[in-house]
């Protein structure tokens, strides 16, 4: 039997349990506890360190040379100072003083200079999903969990948000080009089969949604989508691709439900994909296949290239080395399309939908 290659997995699951780690890069404070419910915008953990530096020229302030300054310093690095606190003092006929110009943290004193950090740099980690705290990682973060419907995408603009899900258009029909019924209200997460023009995108944005999900997006709209202040996820890819009934049907079946978008860009190193999660708990949850798994006969796959690009189908056979129309050769898979037609493609050009 021919073994399938490892392929990327995009989860499109009506019911699964996901676990996501949210972790600070440095030790800080975890702001939630085991079992807490979280929303995407909630800050889970934060850390801070001194920043916004001010340099004080002590030797000039005291009117002495840098080498003489050390003896006049009355505070030590690490001290917290209040505005007006004395830092250095030079006794003499005319006593000269250097005081802290503002509240801050005394970082260092050397070469006749004091360095004061007057503010802080804060690093925050947000939940970026609706879920519960399953485990606290002391000082660093948490593991969140959610029993949900899950749809993973291929592109995100880096933001996260939540709202009630509104599905626009019929996935069985031709792609909807930004036409939005007026019934769609503010604060919703809107899912559309596609968006191909800027005016359509602007019409959507003017409705005040909390987030946007597109099956496909025109490439020229990427810069606009990237700059929007709401999360945007693309599920299939860019350009004129056929609608993906698997993903859109799943979303349509959850219309009206509270939905969270984590439009984080794909990062396989960290195990991140942009994803839509909708809390849901009926029935037996499906297993998580991870980000990659072996291709096998019977899997539902999305086709990433060729004449059938964007279509979904089922693997009916894995084939050894084949020569493709391009003249390149490699392991192939035979895919049965929904209409019954079969196509043969490089195994590398498939994503598993699970």
């Amino acid at each position: 039997m021919i073994r399938g290659m490892l392929a990327d997995v995009l989860q499109v699951s009506p019911h699964t349990i996901i676990r996501r780690t949210r972790r600070l890069p440095l030790a800080g404070r975890v702001l939630v506890s085991d079992g807490d419910a979280v929303r995407p915008e909630d800050v889970i953990a934060e850390a801070s360190f001194p920043a916004k530096v001010v340099t004080l020229d002590l030797s000039r302030g005291l009117g002495i040379s840098p080498t003489e300054t050390d003896a006049c310093v009355v505070r030590e690095p690490g001290d917290q100072l209040k505005e007006g606190d004395l830092i250095a003092q030079c006794e003499g006929a005319l006593t000269r003083l250097v005081r802290s110009p503002s509240d801050g943290f005394l970082v260092d004193i050397s070469h006749g200079r004091a360095i004061l950090a007057t503010g802080t740099e804060v690093v925050r980690v947000r939940a970026e999903m609706i879920g519960f705290v399953e485990e606290v990682i002391p000082e660093f973060g948490v593991i969140l969990t959610s029993e949900c419907s899950l749809v993973q995408g291929v592109w995100g603009n880096g933001l996260a948000g939540a709202g009630l899900l509104g599905v626009v258009g019929d996935p069985k029909e031709e792609p909807v080009d930004g036409e939005v019924p007026e019934t769609v209200g503010e604060g919703k997460i809107l899912a559309l089969v596609s968006c191909f023009d800027l005016s359509g995108l602007h019409r959507l944005i003017n409705l005040g949604p909390a987030g946007l999900i597109f099956g496909t997006l025109a490439t020229e709209l990427i810069p606009t989508a990237r700059q929007l202040a709401i999360p945007v996820i693309v599920l299939q890819g860019f350009g004129d691709l056929p609608p993906d009934p698997v993903s859109i049907d799943m979303l349509a079946s959850r219309e009206g439900a509270m939905t969270s978008l984590n439009a984080i860009p794909c990062d396989l190193y960290q195990g991140h994909r942009p994803e839509v999660t909708i809390p849901y708990g009926e029935g037996e949850p499906e297993a998580d296949l991870g980000l990659q798994t072996q291709l096998t006969v019977g899997q539902c796959v999305r086709i990433l290239s060729g004449e059938a690009i964007g279509q979904t189908g089922e693997i009916v056979a894995l084939v050894g080395a084949e020569v493709f129309e391009s003249g390149l050769h490699g392991p192939a898979a035979r895919i049965k399309l929904p209409e019954g037609e079969e196509v043969q493609l490089p195994q590398q050009n498939l994503t598993i939908l699970h």
């Binding site: 290659m5 490892l6 392929a7 990327d8 890069p25 440095l26 030790a27 850390a47 360190f49 001194p50 920043a51 916004k52 530096v53 001010v54 340099t55 970082v107 260092d108 050397s110 070469h111 360095i115 950090a117 740099e121 291929v154 592109w155 490439t219 020229e220 990427i222 810069p223 990237r226 890819g237 860019f238 350009g239 004129d240 794909c266 396989l268 190193y269 960290q270 195990g271 991140h272 991870g290 980000l291 990659q292 990433l304 290239s305 060729g306 004449e307 690009i309 493709f324 129309e325 391009s326 003249g327 390149l328 490699g330 493609l345 490089p346 590398q348 050009n349 994503t351």
Partner: protein, 585 residues
């Protein structure tokens, strides 16, 4: 591991962003040979172990070379057992990890910061800030910027050895303050590669706060770069970071007994080695360089060796696609299409390909798009290398300035193209060399591995380079002349050892393929016209040249520099198809 013992069988593992390749080298008839290779997708994601992809590549290798390497439990048979199963040593190259965020601190943009940029560009490092003399007016702003950037590496350089110290001391103090403020976990590695007279100050001021490595000045004197010592340190550091971030890499490095490197530095090392041997054998008056290029799925690496030095650039494969798809941004790709295709389709294909870098062209149009992209990536890489290194010259309108022999190419789009002619044309169009060169395909992607193995087993790369593991596409003669199209610019005689000599006249604007069997030796007698430069020292200067036939025999590329690509799409496509047809389709 006993390095004094001659290894009989060496396993090379190359872990790329997309694919993991396993190559087995062993002794056949007293010489090292490539025994076989295996490939599998790299398993680098949140919860997978690199070893899974390596295991699959090894299983494929076992099948391909008919030799048992794995025990039933999946472990490696080491050393080789009496039945001849297993292997003695492992060498590893890796390019699977993410580039490390790096900040350069130096003095002048054209001096020390240029050297720092070249250093950072030669390794999987991402330059996120470049701070120089002009920024020192407000030191507090610089410190705050460092705190916001939170780099993993700071390259601190500047000042010629024994030169002025004041500004470099300021940089040291700035770095010190930033490190004092940053919490332990996120303090960067400080690589000091500046004025050597300040080493003691660097140790005293910085070591208490952050890990510090001190090495040779990147720019010991104005205009000269000395990057290798710093590259070597950073190479090790990058692997240390990747070990922590990529599950399984640590175990593989341990198995390799330290014979490991980032792919970029290994390629740099091999190109340095080749550029020494290349000139040693030929003893030409003008230094000949060696050029190696790898069009990987995740990055493009270009290494140019000259007289034992190397200039390397590595850049993400898709960094030209930030999503801002404007027509202008796509034209440099679109102009290389050998079919008429609308820009929108090019944009869609490239953006979807960037989402799934592992895909391969399945249909003819995708192949044309991918080969156009390859030409663009090659040209982009040589252009950017020229920006990093003043001594390397490339002008998209004039081509590559300098003698490079050979040009060694790897990356699936080049090595697995359906025909040798397609590989040759991508290289000629993308690099636009001049003079005489030989195009060689590193079909098994082993050049960087040879750089690692050669450190302790120098005979192995020497012997492997003589084998057909490297496919000679053919010697290319590229006469450059200002003559108008159609005018004769070169006469050429091909003298074969087996007889059947022939002569040809070469006209400006033509591309020709001359018959010479694979490995058949011949002598070329080149008689250029008075204004024609064939790389023998200037216009009108010709000479004799020993060559051996490649897969394409000999190729004469007299199309001119710059390549005369018509603006009108229909004409351009027709011309590209004619060139392709000339080299076998």
């Amino acid at each position: 591991m006993d390095l004094t013992r001659q290894a009989q069988t060496v396993l090379g593992l190359d872990i790329g962003r997309i694919n993991t390749r396993a190559s087995l080298f062993g002794i056949v008839d007293g010489k090292y040979r490539l025994l076989g290779g295996g490939i599998a997708p790299t398993t680098v994601d949140g919860d997978r172990h690199l070893g899974e992809g390596v295991g699959e590549a090894l299983e494929n290798l076992q099948i391909n070379c008919g030799r048992k390497l794995l025990r039933p439990d999946g472990g490696l048979i080491m050393p080789v057992n009496p039945d001849g199963e297993g292997l003695d040593r492992i060498a590893l190259t890796c390019s699977a990890g993410p580039p490390l965020k790096t900040v350069a601190l130096g003095l002048t943009q054209g001096g020390s910061l240029a050297a720092a940029r070249a250093l950072i560009g030669s390794l999987p490092l991402a330059l996120s800030g470049c701070i120089g003399l002009a920024d020192l007016g407000d030191e507090t702003l610089v410190i705050d910027r460092l705190l916001q950037l939170r780099p993993k590496v700071v390259v601190l350089t500047g000042g010629e050895n024994a030169g002025a110290e004041q500004h470099v001391r300021t940089l040291i103090e700035i770095t010190r303050t930033a490190c004092m403020l940053l919490p332990d976990e996120i303090r960067p590695l400080i690589l000091y590669a500046g004025n050597t007279f300040l080493r003691e100050a660097v140790e005293r001021r910085l070591e208490p706060w952050s890990p510090v490595q001190i090495t040779a000045n990147l720019q010991p004197a104005h205009g000269s770069f000395d990057l290798v010592p710093a590259q070597s340190i950073l190479d090790r550091f990058i692997l240390q970071i990747w070990e922590k971030e990529i599950p399984g890499l640590k175990e593989l490095i341990h198995l390799a007994g330290g014979h490991c490197s980032t792919r970029d530095f290994a390629m740099n090392r091999m190109v340095r080695f080749l550029s020494r041997t290349s000139n040693g054998e030929h003893a030409v008056e003008k230094l000949r360089g060696v050029l190696a290029v790898d069009l990987g799925g995740g990055s493009t690496t270009l290494a140019v060796g000259l007289g034992g030095d190397a200039q390397t650039l590595t850049q993400p494969a898709w960094d030209f696609l930030p999503g801002e798809v404007q027509e202008q941004g796509l034209l440099p790709v679109h102009r290389w299409m050998s079919e008429q295709v609308e820009l929108d389709l090019v944009a869609d294909y490239l953006h979807n390909h960037a989402l799934h870098p592992a895909i391969i062209p399945g249909i003819a149009m995708e192949l044309i798009l991918s080969q156009a992209l390859s030409r663009f990536r090659l040209q982009n890489a040589v252009t950017n290398l020229a920006e990093c290194y003043p001594s390397f010259s490339f002008d998209p309108d004039q081509g590559l300035d300098g003698d490079f022999e050979p040009v060694i190419a790897s990356g699936a789009m080049l090595t697995q193209a359906p025909t040798a002619g397609q590989s040759m044309l991508m290289l000629l169009d993308g690099l636009q060399p001049r003079g005489v060169t030989t195009m060689v395909l590193d079909r098994y992607h082993i050049l960087p591995l040879l750089g690692v193995i050669g450190e302790t087993l120098p005979i192995l790369p020497v012997q492997i380079l003589e084998t057909d593991a490297f496919q000679n596409l053919g010697t290319v003669i590229i006469p450059v002349s200002p003559a108008p199209e159609g005018e004769q610019i070169l006469s050429m005689q091909v003298i074969k050892e087996t007889g059947g000599d022939f002569s040809i006249n070469v006209a400006q604007g033509t591309l020709r393929r001359l018959v010479l069997q694979v490995n058949e030796p011949a002598v070329l007698v080149l008689k250029p016209g008075p204004e024609t430069d064939v790389g023998f020292g200037g216009p009108g200067i010709g000479g004799r040249l020993k060559v051996t036939g490649g897969v394409l025999g000999l190729v004469v590329d007299a199309r001119g520099r710059p390549l005369p690509l018509p603006d009108e799409e229909e004409q351009r496509v027709a011309l590209m198809q004619r060139w392709l047809w000339t080299l076998g389709g």
